[in-house]
Symmetry: C2
Subunit: 293 residues, 2 copies
C-alpha cells in the first residue's frame, strides 16, 4: 500500500502545549523520568439560561463539544436555530443560545426519577430519537477501509504523544475528514457531531471510526448522526450488535492490520481489496490498550 | 520467572454460558464466521424503598455490585448495617436494605441541580469522602508486581475468551485474591468494593490492579477503598496524577512486561526484582486494546 496522508479538515494537535503536560516520576529501574500526560479541564455547559452539565475535556473545541453534547442528548434538534455559542475561557463556561425555547428542564426531572444515572436515562431518550432514522445503503469498499485505518494510525496525535486518550474520525470513502481526540470517548463523538451541525454536513455518505468498544451507546450515537457504517479496532458487546442489527448499521470491529469482523450490515461491504497487498500493522502504530477507559 | 498460578478466591468464569453468546458475521475475506461476545444485562438497584439506578452489567455478582455501587457513591457508609440484599433474577432487580434511614433522596436532588450528569456530581460527593482517609505506608516490592501481572495476564478470563471487557483485581503482596470482570470498569470496581464490604476486608494491605486508564475517578475509588497502591497497564491522565499525589496514593501505569512508570507515591516501591529475569510479555497475553471503553 502506498503512503497515504490525506489532508484532514481537523487533525489532532499533539504539539499544542495546552493539551499535555510534563510529569516527573520513576521507571522500573528506579530512574527518574519525565513523561507527558493529557490535561483534563472542567467545562460547564449552559443551554440558554439553564446549567446542563460540567464535562471533563481536553477543551480544544468547546463550541463543537457543546453543540454535539446537546444534539446527542436530544436537547437540541437538528433543525434548531443556534443564535450564539459563547465560550468564556476564564470562567470555563460555554453557553449555547437557541431561537426555540428548550425543554431540557422536563428532561432533567425525568432523568432523576427514572434512574439517577445520566447514562441510564440519556439512553432512554436516545432510543426514542432512533425510530425515524433509515440509514442509506452507502457501500463500504474494503480498499477504503484499509486506507482509512492506515491513515488514522499514522497521523500524529495526542495518542501517539501521550497515550491514554480516545479518538474518533469522521470519514468519507477513503478519506479521513475530521479527527477528534478527548479524555472521554463521548466527548470526541460529541465534537464530531457539533462539527457536522455547524457545517451542515449529513451522515449518509460517511464512515465513523472510533477507538474503544462497539457498545450500544456508540451504536446509538452513530445512528443518530445518520452515519451507516461504524468501525473500531476493538471488540463488540452483545447489545451493541443487537441494536446495530435493528437499525441496519454496518458494524465492523477488531479492525487491525488486514483483519476485521463485521457482525451487522455486512451487505454494505464490497470486498475489492486484494489482501496480499495489505500490511499487518506495525508495532509502532498498534494501539496498546492505552486508550481504554 | 516460574509459572505462578495462585488460587483466586473469585476468578473470571469464561465457561459460564450465560456470560457470552455466539454471534454470526463475516471476516475480512467475506467468509462466514462465528464469534463470542459478552452479554450485557440491565439490573435495577433499589436502596430500601427508593429506586437508585439501572446498570448494564454481565450480572455475575448482582449482590456485590449493588453493595459496591452504593458504597462508592457514598450512599452506604462503611459502618452501615445491611439487613438484607435481595436479588430477583426474573425482575432483574436487586434491593439493599439497611438499618439506618438512608439520605439518598437529598443526594439525587443535589445531583440534578449541580450538573445533570451522574459522573460530574458523583465526583463532588466522592471528593468529600476522601478528606479523612490516610493511606498506610504498605510497601510494594517490584518482585510482587511482576508476579501479579503475570498471574493476571495468564488467568483464563472473559477477556481472553471474548474480549471487549474490563477487569479489576484485588491483590495482597504477590497474590491476586479477587478478579472481577464487567462491561463497564466501574462495575468491576464496585463488585470488588462490595466483596470487601461483605467479607470485612480492609484495603490497607492491598494492591488494586485495573485495566484502562488511571483517571481521577479511578484514583478516588481506590482511595475510598483505603487501598494505597493502584496499578494499570494503561496510561495516566493529568488530573488522575494530581489527585493521587494529593492523597498519597502510589500510582503505577504502563505496566507491560518488565516496564512500568510510577508518577505518584514512589516511596512505597522496593526495587527488589532483578530485571534480567523478567520476561517481556508474550503476544498471546498482551491486551490488545479490546478492553477499551
Amino acid at each position: 500500500m502506498n503512503e497515504h496522508r490525506p489532508v484532514l479538515l481537523i487533525r489532532p494537535r499533539p504539539d499544542d502545549p495546552r493539551l499535555t503536560e510534563s510529569v516527573a516520576g520513576v521507571n522500573e529501574r528506579g530512574e527518574r523520568i519525565e513523561t507527558r500526560v493529557v490535561v483534563e479541564r472542567a467545562l460547564t455547559l449552559y443551554l440558554n439560561a439553564q446549567e446542563i452539565v460540567t464535562m471533563m475535556t481536553i477543551n480544544d473545541y468547546p463550541e463543537y463539544l457543546a453543540l454535539g453534547y446537546l444534539l446527542n442528548q436530544n436537547m437540541l434538534r437538528p433543525d434548531d436555530v443556534v443564535t450564539e455559542v459563547e465560550y468564556d475561557e476564564d470562567l470555563a463556561v460555554v453557553v449555547v443560545r437557541t431561537e426555540r425555547q428548550t425543554d431540557f428542564e422536563d428532561k432533567l426531572k425525568k432523568r432523576t426519577q427514572t434512574s439517577g444515572c445520566a447514562q441510564g436515562t440519556a439512553f432512554g431518550d436516545l432510543m426514542e430519537a432512533l425510530e425515524d432514522i433509515a440509514l442509506p445503503k452507502t457501500p463500504l469498499r474494503t480498499s477504503w477501509l484499509y486506507r482509512l485505518t492506515h491513515a488514522i494510525n499514522t497521523t500524529p496525535s495526542l495518542y501517539l504523544e501521550a497515550g491514554a486518550i480516545h479518538g474518533c474520525v469522521l470519514c468519507r470513502e477513503d478519506r479521513p475528514l475530521v479527527y477528534m481526540e478527548d479524555v472521554g470517548r463521548h466527548n470526541a463523538v460529541d465534537k464530531i457531531a457539533g462539527w457536522m451541525f455547524r457545517h451542515g454536513e449529513t451522515g449518509g455518505d460517511k464512515i465513523f471510526y472510533t477507538t474503544g468498544r462497539l457498545t450500544s451507546e456508540m451504536v446509538i450515537k452513530t445512528v443518530r448522526m445518520g452515519i451507516p457504517i461504524l468501525v473500531s479496532r476493538s471488540g463488540f458487546t452483545a447489545w451493541g450488535v443487537e441494536l446495530a442489527r435493528q437499525c441496519g448499521l454496518t458494524l465492523i470491529g477488531r479492525a487491525r492490520g488486514k483483519r476485521f469482523i463485521a457482525l451487522s450490515g455486512e451487505d454494505r461491504i464490497v470486498f475489492d481489496q486484494d489482501l496480499s497487498y495489505v500490511e499487518e500493522e506495525s508495532a509502532k502504530h498498534r494501539r496498546k490498550g492505552a486508550g481504554d477507559e
